[in-house]
Assembly symmetry: C2
Homo-oligomer: 458 residues x 2
Amino acid sequence: MSEQNKIPYKIYLNENEIPKQWYNVRADMKNKPAPLINPGTHEPMGFDDLRPVFCDELIKQELDNDTAYFDIPQEIRDFYKMYRPSPLVRAYCLEKALGTPAKIYYKFEGNNTSGSHKLNSAIAQAYYAKNQGLKGLTTETGAGQWGTALSMACAYLGLDLKVFMVKVSYEQKPFRREVMRTYGASVTPSPSMETQIGRKINAEHPGTTGSLGCAISEAVEVATTNEGYRYVLGSVLNQVLLHQSVIGLETKAALDKYGIVPDMIIGCAGGGSNLGGLISPFMGEKLRGEKDYRIIAVEPASCPSFTRGKYAYDFCDTGMVCPLAKMYTLGSNFIPSANHAGGLRYHGMSPILSQLYADGYMEAVSVEQTSVFEAAENFARTEGILPAPESSHAIRVAIDEALKCKASGEEKTIVFGLTGTGYFDLVAYQKFNDGEMTDYIPTDEDLAKSLASLPKVD
Amino acid sequence: MSEQNKIPYKIYLNENEIPKQWYNVRADMKNKPAPLINPGTHEPMGFDDLRPVFCDELIKQELDNDTAYFDIPQEIRDFYKMYRPSPLVRAYCLEKALGTPAKIYYKFEGNNTSGSHKLNSAIAQAYYAKNQGLKGLTTETGAGQWGTALSMACAYLGLDLKVFMVKVSYEQKPFRREVMRTYGASVTPSPSMETQIGRKINAEHPGTTGSLGCAISEAVEVATTNEGYRYVLGSVLNQVLLHQSVIGLETKAALDKYGIVPDMIIGCAGGGSNLGGLISPFMGEKLRGEKDYRIIAVEPASCPSFTRGKYAYDFCDTGMVCPLAKMYTLGSNFIPSANHAGGLRYHGMSPILSQLYADGYMEAVSVEQTSVFEAAENFARTEGILPAPESSHAIRVAIDEALKCKASGEEKTIVFGLTGTGYFDLVAYQKFNDGEMTDYIPTDEDLAKSLASLPKVD
């Protein structure tokens, strides 16, 4: 094939081809995702119930199950132009190294300072807050990807930002903390002494190193008790999947440009923001009966919400201040083993993806972390990108599927989401390089115990 | 202006527009750079003299002052396609924040796992080594950018790689070390007990934390005493500037596409690899009398080779095993103050750039590190990219020039090189965020002392 006609290594759209609208997959779902409900009354949360916590425009997006397309405001599109369109990469070198007839593509979302796709929703959420005349935002962050993304968005728009960072990450992973500070965010280790809930947790568990659920509760408290502040969240919510649809829309536009039709689409799944965004336009075609694709969610064996969780209403945070969401969950007090380095540690899953999975539109597989890092190393050495551990879950399954094609001789087209880079995960890589990484799978008893904490909802 | 006609935020070339040849600026220089000479005899080093240390093809490139263009082998171009063409970015957001009528562009070389432009020469050097049938390569690295780039190239080609990493960086900056290991390189803290020179230095200076010059000497010793190994270097050398011309050629092609003619081109200068590559085609036009541009080298005030150094033959390493090079130098035993966090710590400068500077084709300015980090923070918050401290020297001067335009009302076009990202420099950013960064300028006495070590060459 001549160099001119060959599919390039990287398919870039033009700046003008950045989507002008987000796509809301809920509009094409026959069974809509279950609504958020009040943890006390179990009544569905309406616009007014959510206003103290979230920005108005974002609540509208959260609750709207019918509008298929939402215009992307010009200011957000301009911000997107600083790091989008992101490339759809043909993994020629990986294909060659594997000796597979499969054609492998990945949508690479890591080429921005936040290092992941999180920025797509961060700028949208910050924009609507600014537009509402708010002073600032609060949020929580674990390892710091979401906090970094939101810091960048708030710096760009001149919004104040207060991040509660899980204490153990604040102390042991100081680098993302410093990125956030460079972007002007204030970063507080959680649990702190600045909130009621933080003081309570510190009193009850002296010396605790914190958890994501606790940091959420602190961030929500500060947002609801300070004039001009709201709380924002980087995954799970319907609005986040809406914003992240930009990933899938670009992917589809790039594939369409070359007449490529994928056989399967693979993504890692923590709270579901990347996977939900990546698959959305493809899922839309599937829901409308226009096309069929295999859609595969990959999760860690140590935190297996889809494959071993229960589809039920559960708390989103450990402080139990947030609404209940119906989702595949391991129970809100589930915490993956400390030796799990691969991210994707959230106990629940996006309600949209949960409903789609329950209805049989998606598959899910779980993988163990040593094999994930083997795939990551293989990918880094052949494709030149050091992947985030989270993203490497998708790489693992993409490689496995490509090897099945090698065995069968099938020339399948595989698309996967490479959500981010691993530059801030080198402690985990070091463990792997030193041969000290181990796997962990929760026992049935572990899961039964954490699932016993599910609230009773009729 | 309609969205269609506006210059985009990022000008991307097509993959087929990646240069097919490197440009050798020496071909257009009337005064050629001075040759490398033997430290003992002071005779110019010829092909045979250099063969024990360097790969054959690279020596040819090193010594060739006349051939204007060298074909880029297809395998290198294929590797380039994994991360090139790199974008030429219009800094719309920075312009707006500064309120300047200047038009600012930057060529961004940081979107690859090595985090900098170093990969452009690493793959070239590794390719020629592989092609010569060698088993492996040795090199030194300080903070690790070059070592990381070479690790990626060697992993891709299946070459063995031994990196001597300055001991203090090996211990205090473990992350780039782990990236190198993930790419299969062996990384040894220098001075080690594996080489004669290392054992000697350890004996003479017990507890020493090493230096770049010492690591060079160890890497050269291993290359010359092991069958099938050669030594490679990431900057200073003519061959490196040749490979890095890909930066400038792409920049020029992108500008030409939109009919943009820069008034000035700004780059940071350590050993000169980025600056030399970025300016090469523009310098070629200037040397041939076709066009005129202001070309500005920016160096740290704490390591001011151009602005306060001497143009003379000097040692390239502290072990004094390498050939002598004629260059602007501060003396091979010059070491910038430990509080200098901004990179660009090499005592010398590319012989090509040194000759061009001596002949008046370039300007040079030095800047202090606190003002460099102020510029870095400003850039990060407006343009969304956390820059490497090295690159931020160029940002500082680009901002200063843009502010001069604001004062004068001139709509000048400024192009600068953004060589890399600062993801592995967060200890320095933390210092800045905490207000603990200080500046340091060597005294005239300091410089007189280090310049006293210059070898006597007639």
